[in-house]
Amino acid sequence: MNKCTDSDIQEMLPDLLHRALSESERRRVEAHVASCESCREDLDVLRTVKSAAVFAPSIDVDRVVRQIPPYRTILPETERPAIRRPASTRMVSWLVAASLALVAVGAGSVLLQSNRLPTSPSGMDDQPSTAIATTGEPTKASPAESVVTVGTRTPAVAAQHPHALALAAEADGLSDGGLVQLMNDMDNFDALPGSEPDPVLSVDSGDSL
């Protein structure tokens, strides 16, 4: 048997099986196959292979369709409409955010103070008699909350607060009785300072300056 050399026809044999040829092409291919043993043999092979494909299991269409989500639920991210939550939910979110911000600011302030003010290893209880208020303005805070310890002030910190430096230098040489006297004197001191007072250093009772 001679091998067919008409590659165009050979190319079209599968299309003949699938009825994918135009009328003129179909007639041309069929005429060729009728006279070409090689192509007839090829066509037989192709028919056998095509018909052998029927062993594939049949598919339950409804079962497949049930697994397909509706179009609306699988829109891409960019095309999804913005989801608006109820006003009450939004308000709660804002309150939570505000609370967290306040906590963060408060924690930051405490940390800042901790870094600026050296902590006494033994705490406030060690120096109760050396605590004096550094402000001339009355505050609503209790005395325990608005006192600073001057005995442990470092020179670097004291240099930022000239009044404190003076008090520190003075307090260093005072006995407990002298310090009490100094505090009493300050209580009776009613003159206003000539410049802006130092900021009130409000610390927790466990901290010291």
Binding site: E11, E41, V64, P69
Partner: protein
Amino acid sequence: MIPSPEGRPEETDLELINRWRAGDGRAATRLVGRHSQALARFAASAGERDGIEELVQDTFVRAFASLDSFRGESTLRTWLFTIERRLMLDRRRSERRSRETVPVEESDHVSEYGALDGLIAEEAQERVRKSLDALSPTQREVFTLRVQQGLSYKEIAEVVGSTEGAARVHYHNAIKTVKEFLKDE
């Protein structure tokens, strides 16, 4: 519209896709019904034995989930074949990995042959199966897409990620091998 065998106009795939996008679930049923058997045949002829229905199902789920990326430049069926082929490759890769780690048990052989017996009922089909097994994976894909599915070389090249010329060469080598195998049987 494509005329149906009954004479009434049959909706094209794109029309059905648009209907499904508009919320018509029946359009999905029509699309699945139209293409599911072709996908099953392609999977079977590509050497899949078990879980063909699951494979077809996964193909449709994945296709519908990414239908917005289907531009209609190829036919929907070609696009579905491409997705299914990727799933088959993934499945084979994971099977290969599990074979490397999990020892094959005797019962696996039994179930495999049992499924095979169920799928191949007639002698002619078995002969064809054997002849296809003699082909390389790419030759088998190209050949079955061309002969069993009737895809053009351009479409086959899209599905297998190759060129039309390469698909042609694979087809001619495949038919030569299959012809010789069937003649010798």
